[in-house]
Amino acid sequence: MIAPAEPSVEAEPMLKVREILDRHDHRASRLVPILQAVQESYRYLPAEVLTYVAQELDVPAARVFGVATFYAHFAIVPKGKHVIRLCDGTACHVKASMPILDAIRSRLGLSEQQATTPDMLFTVETVACLGACGLAPVVVVDEAVHGQMTPEGAVELVERLMAQEAST
């Protein structure tokens, strides 16, 4: 079975991970930055990589899993190709960020429980605050910050991406 758009684990097992571990001197205290680097590489934290990391750092796998699930930035399931993050910090919230989230989710058929579209193209998530409060409400699409957003504007952003995906 071919899973489309699945982030692939490379043929040479754990080559990238070994490089990351080397960079951090295989120090267990560097677990958080190591996981950040792994996530940057794989776009999530695959269980087999975490198992390998645990073994190499001589740390129990359960602890690595515990750290990976503690921090909001770490994902233990793959994310979509495009990550849409809606800021729900106080400033954005009081400037009506929730209707924007509802609009984006409904356009993509997503919910609080289901954050990623089945075709693995889009993940929608909220973040506590991006520190761009002056621009509230804020939506970040693949690292690009869009300020003073409206539900309509956000849907437009999403549709632009959808069109772009459809044409490729």
Binding site: M1, E6, E48, L50, T51, Q55, A62, T69, F70
Partner: protein, 599 residues
């Protein structure tokens, strides 16, 4: 309120209490006779401060956790105020709101601390509603059952597994109200690095972790007319079972225990101490052989199945050093299944071997594939001391009124050496009692060979017999074992024999034993086993004539080919990093990989 505080005291609820090196305020308060409730405080583990039940009001500092406050002279402390009462009750109600309250059917029913504290605080009504969806039980382990719906997240299990056992098979995962105690990747307890010692279950204040019961299987076999149930009882069981019936810890209940098993329907009741004697003969032989050749030293004992799995996972390089002897449980199982069917005119499957163990890892050991012949295990079912107590209770037997009976012969006969196997240091001592005689060529008084006894988690002894010096190390707690292993690997330490037990104090402190609040009961059991040794006629395994008889009739020479076939085993690394690993097929890490999505 006017208070007077003298130099070296703390004022607790208006009374001056002398400070005497207590580790923290909580210990002092408890010593003063006030039993503040806690879930997460355990004197052998690090201070965690999560349950918030030991809160006290300290003058000038406000409300603080007593467990994390040093017992500094001069403090003025109140343990009961309206505010504290409110906070404690709310904390317990919060836990109860999401707790699966099927109490009557819970394995911890009547011994649950949550139940106890709720009763202590007089909670009659929970004002909060459940906000968590029920989670499925984890029944993947053959030794333990994990019920996430009963977890109060006190973390005692996590800290024991990490701090004392050095394993970390379970840890906290996720956060906030989604926080949970989980094995790696949320998999089952049976699929990871858990060595089944079960101490987590012994510590668990609720029914979130409990030994996996096998009493139903045992009942079924007892009730099956086509089956003959043969029971073996481990040494540590006899000095702890009484606690379940209100007797003093350490009471030797051997006679009543046998009587109870007979009443329940056991055809034979044998003593695991018999096969411990057998183990001593085999292991001493192995040890002296290695000592003579200088190969594969130090010899590590292999009676403790938690340690064996630990070594397979974390010290595969040392597996050749493990004694190839089966544990006493498996030796007796193998011997029974080897001899009894013919003797009784039954098929192997008709003989059901049940062992009563102080241990949860023995359940796992009995199910290892290498201990099966034609698919039939040498030991069919393993129940813990507590499970036996439940069976006695279920049968309605008045334990204290039973007329004592004796173990059946021949495999109920033992020497004191076999009995002290239940104590940390006991295996070493038993081996010494035999080895000294072999080396010296004449008997050495038993009283000269007590150097491996003690309470410390890591102990060393050295014995000079003639011109031979035997160096021994005794350790309990697997983190200590790991430390020891590392020191041996680094060449910092040269010893000949290493005895490893996973549980505190050895098998007497096993997780299948009645749960005790502190180490007192355990130490009493230890003393009691040494007393039993004293009372017995024989103290050295080599003097067990029934064991000698077994060699003559079934096993051939000590350490010979037939003995090897029945009494010895082999080990395999559980690390998939090692090339050509024999355990690859059963390796949890490999299993984990194969479940990854297709690439």
């Amino acid at each position: 309120m006017k208070t007077t505080v003298t130099a070296n005291t703390i004022q607790i609820d208006g009374r001056a209490v002398p400070v005497n090196g207590e580790r923290n305020l909580l210990e002092l308060i408890r010593k003063s006779g006030i039993e503040l409730p806690t879930f997460c405080y355990h004197s052998d583990l690090s201070v965690y401060g999560a349950c918030r039940l030991c809160l006290v009001d300290i003058q000038g500092r406000g409300i603080q956790g007593a467990c994390s406050t040093p017992a500094e002279a001069g403090l003025v402390v109140r343990t009961q105020t309206e505010e504290l009462r409110d906070i404690r009750r709310i904390a317990v109600e919060l836990l109860l709101a999401n707790h699966d309250q099927q109490c009557p059917t819970c394995p911890k029913s009547a011994s649950c601390r949550l139940q106890g504290i709720a009763r202590q605080l007089g909670i009659r009504h929970v004002r909060f509603r459940p906000v968590h969806a029920p989670e499925p039980l984890d029944e993947s382990s053959v030794s333990l059952v994990r019920d996430p719906n009963k977890c109060v997240l006190c973390g005692d299990c996590v800290r024991f597994c990490g701090e004392i056992q050095g394993i970390g098979a379970i840890d906290f995962a996720y956060r906030g109200h989604e926080a949970a105690v989980l094995p790696a990747f949320g998999k089952g307890l049976g699929e990871g690095e858990c060595v089944n010692c079960g101490q987590c279950a012994a510590l668990c204040p609720t029914g979130a972790l409990s030994p996996r019961p096998e009493t139903n299987d045992v009942w079924r076999a007892l009730h099956d007319a086509t089956k003959t149930v043969v029971v073996q009882v481990a040494p540590a069981v006899r000095v702890a079972l009484g606690e379940a019936f209100g007797m003093m810890p350490g009471t030797d209940t051997s006679g009543r225990l046998v009587a109870a098993l007979k009443r329940l329907g056991a055809a034979r009741v044998y003593d695991t101490a018999f096969s411990a004697d057998l183990t001593v003969l085999e292991e001493t032989h192995e040890f002296l052989e290695r000592k003579a050749s200088g190969e594969r030293l130090p010899l590590f004992t292999s009676c403790c199945p938690a340690w064996v799995k630990f070594a397979e996972q974390f010290a595969p390089d040392l597996l050749p050093n493990l004694s190839t002897c089966k544990s006493p449980q498996q030796m007796l199982g193998a011997l029974c299944k080897d001899t009894l069917p013919a003797e009784l005119g039954l098929a192997r499957e008709q003989v059901v071997m049940v062992s009563v163990m102080p241990c949860t890892a023995k359940k796992f050991e009995a199910k290892r594939p290498e201990f099966k012949v034609g698919g039939n295990p040498d030991v069919d079912h393993v129940i813990t001391t507590q499970e036996l107590a439940h069976m006695i209770e279920e049968a309605g037997l008045q334990f204290d009124e039973l007329e004592p009976e004796s173990f059946d012969l021949p495999m109920g006969f033992k020497t004191g050496a076999g009995v002290i196997f239940g104590n940390s240091g006991g295996v070493s001592e038993a081996v010494l009692r035999h080895a000294s005689e072999v080396v010296a060529g004449h008997p050495v008084p038993v009283s000269e060979l007590c150097m491996t006894r003690g309470e410390e988690g890591m102990r060393f002894a050295s014995v000079e017999i003639g011109d031979v010096v035997l160096k021994l190390a005794v350790v309990y707690g697997l983190r200590q074992a790991r430390t020891l292993v590392n020191r041996i690997r680094n060449g910092e330490l040269a010893v000949d024999l290493v005895e490893v037990m996973a549980c505190p104090g050895g098998c007497v402190g096993g997780a299948g034993q009645p749960v005790t609040a502190d180490g007192q009961a355990r130490r009493q059991r230890t003393r009691s086993l040494y007393e039993v040794d004293k009372r017995l006629d024989l103290h050295k395994s080599q003097d067990n004539h029934y064991v000698r008889e077994s060699y003559r009739r079934h096993l051939g020479d000590i350490g010979g080919p037939r003995a090897h076939q029945v009494l010895h085993t082999h080990y395999a690394s559980r690390r998939c990093a090692s090339e050509g690993c024999a355990a690859h097929a059963t390796c949890p890490q490999v299993a984990l990989r194969s479940e990854e999505p297709a690439i």
